[in-house]
Amino acid sequence: MAEYTGKVEKSLAKFPERKNLAYNRLYTPLDIEGLDYEKDLSFPGQYPFTRGVQPTMYRGRFWTMRMYAGFSTAEESNKRYRYLLESGGTGLSCAFDLPTQIGYDSDDAIAEGEVGKVGVAIDSLADMEILFDSIDLGKVSTSMTINAPASVLLAMYIAVAEKQGVSPDKLNGTIQNDILKEYAARGTYIFPPKPSMRLITNIFEYCSKSVPNWNTISISGYHIREAGSTASQEIAFTIADGIAYVDAAIKAGLNVDDFAGRLSFFWNAHNNVLEEVAKFRASRRVWAKVMKERFGATNPKSWMLRVHTQTAGSMLTAQQPDNNVVRVALQTAAAVLGGTQSLHTNSKDEALALPTEDSVRVALRTQQIVAYESGLADVVDPLAGSYYIEALTNQIEKEAWEYIGKIDDMGGAVVAIEKGYIQREIQESAYKWQMEVENKQRIIVGVNQFQVAEKPIEGLLRVDASVGELQKKKLADLRARRDNGAVADKLAALEAGCKDENTNLMPLILEAVKVYATLGEICGVMRKVFGEYEAHVSL
């Protein structure tokens, strides 16, 4: 033994970056003592869903290959969506520009320089009609990354579908609609927490009756992780947000089993493949327990944590961008071994700009190679029973419960965010990560090790600077063309509705959208009544 220990010490001294890892060097049956198969793992499709939410998983069908896209105008983005569907993408995922995400029209002074940059500019139903032109909304499922004005974009989607002759009960898709993580990690909030939570519960209620197959929220850890959290923090803070939404909906008088089955989640797939697999498995177990034990949900669908995943944008490097193809492939493996329901893979050039058509194709092909060639999708939860995976799943679950307990003690996620607690925990982890990279305790290939002299990258996507002017002109035409009396009436009705807490705002927003009231006008009415959120700044 002494000889063995001596050898290990000697080799660790030679490679100091291998010494301070958070994990044990070796896992054995001792690390999973007491693990009860039926109680802790059970079968896929059965409580607590550790091994997956469906009994057959990818043997039945692959995950939805859903590429996140959108830039410039509705016309340009429509072309990209059709290209992705023709290339074998199986769902759409819309990226909106920042003015759209924050409820401003493209001609608002604050939007200058931002129109069409990080996503597509949508000012009114007229843009939305172009965005989905020649795409059958009865056949495709669409995810929309929209939060503060989610109700407005969902209303536009419903209205476009109606024009196509598709009734709302035939619509499939997801709105992100997760405002708590905007306050904590992503920054595209508009209103204060209370009216924001009201809008969210209004959507839960409206969709449970009228758009039954719609995922009304995608409770998002992705951005929490991008902001710098650890894997355990990602699921802990996200599930704490989920608890806050369920609480709010129950307080608003909804029955938990009427809406819980349509709650969905959004995870990040980072580089540490096995840690990520354990994270996915732990998260399903935590949520199942929350829904069954804490909220008393009785429908098994209410217990399932269904998840869309995106590979980690923040792990891609601007240095030697070709290496990012490999990173994304590993992250894809993590998401698939973790049992995701839907996946976006990032493109290799995303640390530099929005992806080009060619780099998006490689990203989509990565998913297809993992699906069809790698064998990773042949067996449900193939890593179950690995001493390491099970021990790590237990450990991540334990760490998550500790955080959830702390947040409960503070009064829930809304209070914890208002106090800046969650933001500070995330910042702490982000700073620690950066220092580890700078001290070379953490090696990032091409960044702090294995660097080369690099040539400038050619052929990046550039959004035409004229897009702002184009949108402005489209808006001026719209305002001249539409029935402005009807717009004023519908906006007045919405304002009255905002002032009465018992009114569900969704039908009023839908009416306003249909007469071509703009996003900025509708959000402007809500801003007037609800006010705006003042961020808690702390360093």
């Binding site: 920042l98 320089g113 710098g228 601007a318 640390a351 530099l352 950066q434 700078e438 700044v537 360093l539």
Partner: protein, 130 residues
Amino acid sequence: MEKRIRVLVAKPGLDGHDRGAKVVARALRDAGFEVIYTGLRQTPEQIVEAALQEDVNVVALSLLSGAHNHLFPRIVAMCKEKGMSDVLIVGGGVIPDADIAGLKAAGVSAVFTPGTPTGSIVEFIKTNVK
């Protein structure tokens, strides 16, 4: 005693990704600078006003949304208008190499892109603050 270097870390525009800004702010503070962080969604007017009020030596702008070519030069120009020609203005974020020359010509002294160690930013500021 020598006066400590004062830095305003600012997020212009609508972009909400502030991981980089906050990490840099903290690294600058750990390096002994006085650091003020504006928070999100600051207009050029608000940033320049804050820089004036706080009497800073450095304005460090962080942006990922692609609006840098519009916002950074405006901030530089407004600083000059207000007589703050001694203030060092630096930027960082997802900024294509092709845009860097233009930003420098507009008066942004340095642009730090992803992967830059915080130590290089500290060194640059120490060397270049007048």
